[in-house]
Symmetry: D2
Subunit: 279 residues, 4 copies
Amino acid sequence: MTALKLLISCPDQKGIVYELTKFILENDGNIIDSQQHSMDDKFFMRLEVDSSNFKIDYSSLEDKFKPLADRFDMDFKFSLKKKNMAMLVSKHPHCLNDILLKHKYGVIDVDIPVIISNHPEAEEIASLYGIEFHHCPIIDKDKVAQEAKILEILQPLDIDFIVMARYMQILSEDFINQYSCNIINVHHSFLPSFKGANPYHQAYEKGVKIIGATAHYATADLDMGPIIAQDVTTVNYKDSANDYVSKGRDIEELVFSRAIKAHNEDKIIVFDNKTIVFH
Amino acid sequence: MTALKLLISCPDQKGIVYELTKFILENDGNIIDSQQHSMDDKFFMRLEVDSSNFKIDYSSLEDKFKPLADRFDMDFKFSLKKKNMAMLVSKHPHCLNDILLKHKYGVIDVDIPVIISNHPEAEEIASLYGIEFHHCPIIDKDKVAQEAKILEILQPLDIDFIVMARYMQILSEDFINQYSCNIINVHHSFLPSFKGANPYHQAYEKGVKIIGATAHYATADLDMGPIIAQDVTTVNYKDSANDYVSKGRDIEELVFSRAIKAHNEDKIIVFDNKTIVFH
Amino acid sequence: MTALKLLISCPDQKGIVYELTKFILENDGNIIDSQQHSMDDKFFMRLEVDSSNFKIDYSSLEDKFKPLADRFDMDFKFSLKKKNMAMLVSKHPHCLNDILLKHKYGVIDVDIPVIISNHPEAEEIASLYGIEFHHCPIIDKDKVAQEAKILEILQPLDIDFIVMARYMQILSEDFINQYSCNIINVHHSFLPSFKGANPYHQAYEKGVKIIGATAHYATADLDMGPIIAQDVTTVNYKDSANDYVSKGRDIEELVFSRAIKAHNEDKIIVFDNKTIVFH
Amino acid sequence: MTALKLLISCPDQKGIVYELTKFILENDGNIIDSQQHSMDDKFFMRLEVDSSNFKIDYSSLEDKFKPLADRFDMDFKFSLKKKNMAMLVSKHPHCLNDILLKHKYGVIDVDIPVIISNHPEAEEIASLYGIEFHHCPIIDKDKVAQEAKILEILQPLDIDFIVMARYMQILSEDFINQYSCNIINVHHSFLPSFKGANPYHQAYEKGVKIIGATAHYATADLDMGPIIAQDVTTVNYKDSANDYVSKGRDIEELVFSRAIKAHNEDKIIVFDNKTIVFH
């Protein structure tokens, strides 16, 4: 089965679902999953279609759909083929490691053409999973040059989205804009609490009883992008700040992989600096 | 806004969503929420429709929908008006108490015409919330007579569904059949573990580290009906079996109220002794 | 069995536990539970002693213990008798309601001589549980007069601690100082996120995927006192801000009752604007 | 700092803690953490002692402690040095992979002299982390010969405990008895539900709303040994049995690593086929 995914948002009006399903039926698609919700006069929908016998070629799909989209003033995104995901990582490999194993298990159905790091440590894990690795250190504090180097690597690879697997650098606004809403970061706190550096130590100082992690789209505004996934775990008085770090890693892995899976399966609509994550 | 809810299950085929949405559009309904999923060649859907301007009167809706339902061999259920929920309770009032407060807060939008108990204790709480209370004790172990008395109370009240708020009696198959898939029980264990009597003590003896509670539809097979909601909490070595009971009550309240809310909002399809609970 | 509780904090040194246990043994106490932890050169301990045959009368216990306490420079607190807890509430009775039922069930082993509210709504629930209720409205915005009235009610009752069961007023620094570290508040957010007014609406605007509640000691610095208990629940894109409010109530009840239970059982040491909560 | 750990269980009597702490004080140890609890006339305790200046040599510690232990009829276990942990694994490397990374991060402070598998797949991961790997296949269904081979590998390595990182074979009673209460298994269900084969598929058939995993000591009675750690995650109607498997892996990793960490840090007392897991 070939599954075509369609994400739509537009002003709410009568007849949208009817016209959408008519379009799909007339082209011999079969809807296998759909979720739609209207709120604040906005309409949001995700459709998953068995397109094995679809009459329209994927390359001309957007054109054919355009009249309908225009009529309802839709933002829409079709998705059919496997995506290309690039991974950025620094010294801490746990999120990278978790994603690579989930990828191997088939849980995250994506292609990973490249892993890039500002440190050499992750090369061994990349190599274990047979993935191309590039070491792009920041030389003489020249982050502009380093980002240029990264982009040079990414450009020929037809990258659909980038994930920051505990990549401890702040990407420039220029870089982010080139992959708008397609860069996923994992921050090691329950945002909006404890933005910025050393969130577990901030949490320890504050004396919270639960710590968390947050996966979100990277935006120019540090740790302020649309939140995709969050989870938490308990801490107690015997836990040191370092214990928070250890316990937190498990949560970082959980939210990071959920966010990547949701993005990869086209389950996310960004709206009003928030996300709708369909089930 | 008047919200018409529609639950459908049928064999999966092309064009179902199209025909459904056509039916709704032609009658001037606006879909505000829909969820649909196909699996194992079966099609499941929930629709919520703004029916403020709906052309078809609710009383004739089923008739008008019948041809479409027949064409696709659908099981379907329309729902528009507020439901009548009867509550059964024994000596432990916590689930009753929680539901009555949630009802007062407007979280569970139902009418509660009656509370019935085999013990007198719950009368005060019923009275606090202004709800009719009947004490139906089991006299001389004659449960048949007691159930007949309960049914006599229920029948004139046009009861849509019954909830067993820790009602510690096993209902007869006859009784259950009169409200098939419309009786919700809460069992104080994480089913299928620890069926039957004293589940917290069973859990204590087993040495589990997490205890739970389960809301499910009552069937003739004790604690084996379709599960609607489950949740858990942790226990540790200092907790006695009585502590399990105390901690468990909070979880019973949570799963019971979630199950009632889902049922009341027509979010549940029973299928294959399991439930599909739409979000 | 009579259980004597002892909480201790002091600079860490060799021999503390030995001297403590010697003191208890020599006076015919039997330790039934103890937890001790040293960190950052500080020593923290909780002891629970079967004092059925204790040789020292409770009234002279502090005097007899003083030499030992002085030797190790201890902060300490003995506790034997049931505590008196006053409850403050406003219009939303869910936390009050939950505590009163847990109290009735024997889960929270405390005396509740009085419930005070700035609104009349809670009187019925107070009455159901047979607890004295006082309506202390704020008249002409004169909060000073209102607090004076509350203190006048509390003073003859030998109140050990006060709990703010969603009491929507900010207590003055003067008031708080009279019950220092003995006033427990529940805030309807996962602090330190969303301090102040309308935290669920703040959470909704931010687009978090998990909401929470926090029980903490009230201090003059709003929502900044030592955190005692926190818990969370998930929200999704279909939940309105009002749904956050509804879901949040359950979490408020959970953290509030856990905090009260821990405080009532002398399991909390406040240290460095944080709490150590023994198991 | 050198941390000496002591686990004790014995009939409850007055004076035990006093005598224990006297013993430690007289030998210049400083207690940095202790937890003690009495229930059902039994006394349980864990002590962690800064033994940097301890007067007694570790090798003679048991002899010196014996008179005290005899007096109170104690079961006791001292622990000072880093333990040797052997890992058994089959085809699914996720638990192995997680533990090796946690080991590298220093979260699990143990030595891992060997990884043994009935399949060759795990060799690459073992090699990445620089750990000796043995492939011990079951040849001609001769499990006795295979276990003999495994024991032959283990014996010279002074193995303290063995962990079954999703080792899909049932160990013989003979094998288990040689490492009594020192073999940790992870079962992919929330025990006691869904013992034996394919627990996720059993869970799917049953229609539970939460799935879990359980780490426990292996005993001759399959999946019935003392439970150490459990955790859960939610599933919904869209999840296939294979999705249960995927989601479950994360939970298996969590409970397995927690159980190993607790065992390795001497925080577990087995009692009455249950465990006391100190915090």
